[in-house]
Structure formats: structure tokens, C-alpha cells
């Protein structure tokens, strides 16, 4: 790996994103807007809103970076630029790291805006550290990048790539306890949730929100980081120098 290539790739990805003003605006505006909508929907159920608000702040980057990564990787594959890059002196990890750096940066901006709205305007309270919420959100964004990179290899069109969000991410978010807390779900579903990565990401955020920063939080973070490493390794194997 070389820092030069990673930095060049991150810069190129950000340059591409900068051209797409509308997407940038959506990335920054949609999460706080959704959160505000939820705040008013749950106006009579403030505790329910409090319970999911912080986890949502930290899960938006995961979903959005997953989508953006799948689609940009798919474009990279179908436009022939990936084939070109694979014929150049570029390590696969440079490409992945370049994407990760660029999208982590975007996720950090997004989370700061969402957090400012959530904590400043919508009255969401965090008993733990608000900085930790941002850090977890950026980690989740990296998880989204890693999963998107890996899963994009199984999509042959942008249409398919987009479908992976409701197919792969949405069930995990529902199992995380978005509507019903984890411990009130049927036992079988809790076992399923324990075997999937996103509930750990969700749980970590919920714990920071309630100020419960004990060992269970460490486990949550360890699972998320472990999943990132595994997904990056799997994603790297899908970047083939030689293709059929």
C-alpha cells in the first residue's frame, strides 16, 4: 500500500462527489429532515423518540455510505475504469482505503449536521459523550463502505445494487430494535439479531445515548470493527485483476 495512491483515490472520489451537488445536498439534508419528521410523528411519545433518535443519527451514515459505495463501485466495474486501475501499479487496498477515507470524511460532515439538529433543535439528549456518537457514526459509515464494496460484486446493475439496501440492511435495522426493543422480540429473532452485525452498531449508539458505556459497549464496537475487517477482506477478493 502507498499513501500517495490512497490519497489520490480519496481525492478523486471527493472530486466526483463534489460535481454532484444534488446528491451532496441530499446526503446532508435528508437525515436531519427524517429525524425531525420522526420527532413530530412521535410527538405524543417522547420516550419512544428518545430511544431511537441517537441510534438513528449513527445509522444514517451506514445506510447512505452503503448505497453510495455500491453504486460507485458498480460504475467503476461497468465503466472499465476498474479494469484500467487493475492494470496499473495500484494495490487493491489503496483503492479501498481511498474510498473509505473519502466517504468517512463525508459521513463525518453528515453526522455533525445531523447531531447539531438532533441535539440543538429537536431536544435529543445523550447521557454519554456526543463526540462518541459522531465517532460511532463514522465507524458505521466505514461498515457501510465495506459492506457496499463487497455486495456490489453481486450486482450487475445499479438497480440491483440499490435493492441490496432493503434486502440486506433494512431487516437488520428492524431487528436492531427500531420499532420494538431488542429484548421484547421473540426469542428466535433475538438469536438471529445476535448473529448479524448491524444490531451491534445500533446497540452501541443506544448505550452511549443512555450513558451505559460499560463492557457491553466494548463488545459492540469490537463486533463492528471485526465486521469491517472481514467485509474489507472479502471485498478485496472481489476486486479481480483478471476477469472472465
Amino acid at each position: 500500500m502507498t499513501v500517495r495512491v490512497t490519497r489520490a483515490t480519496a481525492r478523486r472520489v471527493l472530486e466526483q462527489l463534489r460535481r454532484d451537488r444534488r446528491s451532496l445536498a441530499l446526503i446532508v439534508i435528508v437525515p436531519p429532515a427524517l429525524l425531525a419528521l420522526l420527532r413530530f410523528i412521535l410527538d405524543a411519545e417522547r420516550p419512544a423518540f428518545q430511544r431511537v433518535a441517537v441510534p438513528l443519527v449513527g445509522m444514517f451514515p451506514l445506510i447512505i455510505m452503503f448505497l453510495i459505495t455500491s453504486i460507485t463501485m458498480l460504475r467503476e466495474r461497468t465503466s472499465g475504469t476498474l479494469e484500467r486501475l487493475m492494470s496499473l501499479p495500484l494495490a487493491k487496498l489503496d483503492l479501498i482505503a481511498g474510498y473509505a477515507v473519502a466517504f468517512a470524511f463525508v459521513a463525518a460532515v453528515q453526522t455533525c449536521v445531523t447531531s447539531a439538529v438532533a441535539f440543538g433543535l429537536l431536544g435529543v439528549t445523550v447521557h454519554g459523550s456526543a463526540a462518541l456518537v459522531v465517532a460511532l457514526a463514522v465507524t458505521n459509515a466505514l461498515l457501510g463502505v465495506a459492506l457496499g464494496l463487497f455486495l456490489s460484486a453481486f450486482a450487475t446493475s445499479e438497480f440491483q445494487a440499490v435493492q441490496f439496501m432493503p434486502a440486506v440492511l433494512l431487516p437488520q435495522i428492524l431487528l436492531s430494535g427500531l420499532f420494538v426493543p431488542h429484548d421484547r422480540m421473540p426469542h428466535a429473532l433475538r438469536i438471529v439479531a445476535d448473529a448479524l452485525p448491524l444490531p451491534y452498531a445500533f446497540d452501541a449508539l443506544a448505550r452511549v445515548a443512555t450513558g451505559d458505556e460499560g463492557t457491553r459497549l466494548h463488545l459492540d464496537v469490537a463486533v463492528v470493527l471485526g465486521t469491517i475487517l472481514v467485509a474489507v477482506a472479502l471485498g478485496a477478493t472481489t476486486l479481480r485483476r483478471r476477469t472472465p
Binding site: R7, E15, Q16, R19, G80, S87, L88, P89, R241, P244
Partner: protein, 237 residues
Amino acid sequence: MSETGPAIVVSGLRVIRGDRLVLRDVDCTIEAGLVTGLLGPSGCGKTTLMRAVVGVQRVAGGAIHIFAVPAGTPELRRRVGYMTQAPSVYGDLTVVENLRYFARVMDRRDRVRDVIELVGLGEYEHSLVRDLSGGERSRASLAVALLGEPDLLVLDEPTVGLDPLLRRELWATFHRLADAGTTLLVSTHVMDEAERCDRLLLMREGNMLAEGTPAELRARTAAPTLEAAFVALTEPR
């Protein structure tokens, strides 16, 4: 640079794509420092052969050596430049941004200005690639292949969509590069371009049919023109 021996040696190359045997036992040799043209009917396997030479094609059998090293070896990635048939540049970046990115990857930022001049895109360097005409876009893609001053340039139909004047200029560039020691492998469907090659490889249905200079191929078929020779050699009997 002076190479001793051929630039590319292909022996017994077999490639299966999907469930089709696309290259069947291809043998050929490409001399260093020459412009070699790759001809053959559409679908005969030119792009596949070039991909194999560059080391991005999965192969089912046989061997390819580039400068006596197996194709696809990491050290060759600095020595081989490849222009894909469909332009492979980022449509949402400008010409200069594309070139700067690939130049940074190759650590050859000094070359950006030169290659823009070489392909004559100076006027459009700040245009988004997706807003360029087909010919301009393919020149942007060619510029990327030229960035690393490779010893071997593999160009898949580099002049498609270009007017005769531009084509002549680019072919002059190719010969200048060859005179300076670069080996070029160029696929084309245009006979007057084939005429400008030092040597030709003629393929049909995944087989290598003939190798030789344009004059040799004309003489072999007793055809008056290269086009007639091409038709005589590739027409299914």
C-alpha cells in the same frame, strides 16, 4: 530503450469466455520497437487477446510472456499501457482531473501536460469527460494509456470515431513512439491504418490466421489491396 528479443510471445493461448472458446490455441510473436496491427472480423477475439496480453483476462491455457516475463506480473504494470476499446475514464471528472488522478496513481504527474498535447485535447482539458464527443472521449482514454511512458502500448481501436486528419496525426505519434523504442500493438478495422503498420496479425474466429508485413500479406493472396487480401484470408471457405 533497447530490448533484445521479441516484446510479446504468445504460445498455445486458450481463453474461454462464458461458455465459448474465444481463443483457441493462439501463437504469435510481436517484435519490440514496431507498430503491430491486430486485424480480424468483429468478434474474432482481438480484444480478448489484448486483455490477455495486459494481464486482465482469465486464461484457460497457454502462456504469454512480455519482455520475457509472464503477462500479468506486477512489475509489468509499470511497463505496459492499455487503452480499452470503450473509453475507460471518469465521465464526471474533467480531462485534466482524470489525468491527474491516473498520473498520481502512477507517480507521473510530470506527464499530464505532455499527454494532453499528444492527443490534442488542450482546448477541452477543463471539460467534463461526459460532455465530450465520442472521439474526444476516446482520446482522453488514450492519453491515460500514454501517461506512464510504457515500453509496451496496447491500444484497442484507438482511432474509432476520429476524422482522417486526427487519425493521421495519431498514427504519426504511434510511429514516433515506436522509433523511440516503444512497442505498439494496435487493433483496427480500418485498412488504411493497417497499411501503416510495420507488421500485421490477422485473426479469425479465435485463431491466428496470418502474420507478416502488409506487403507480405498482399503478396501471399496475390491481392491488389490489403482489403482484398483481408477478405480473401478471412472469408469462410
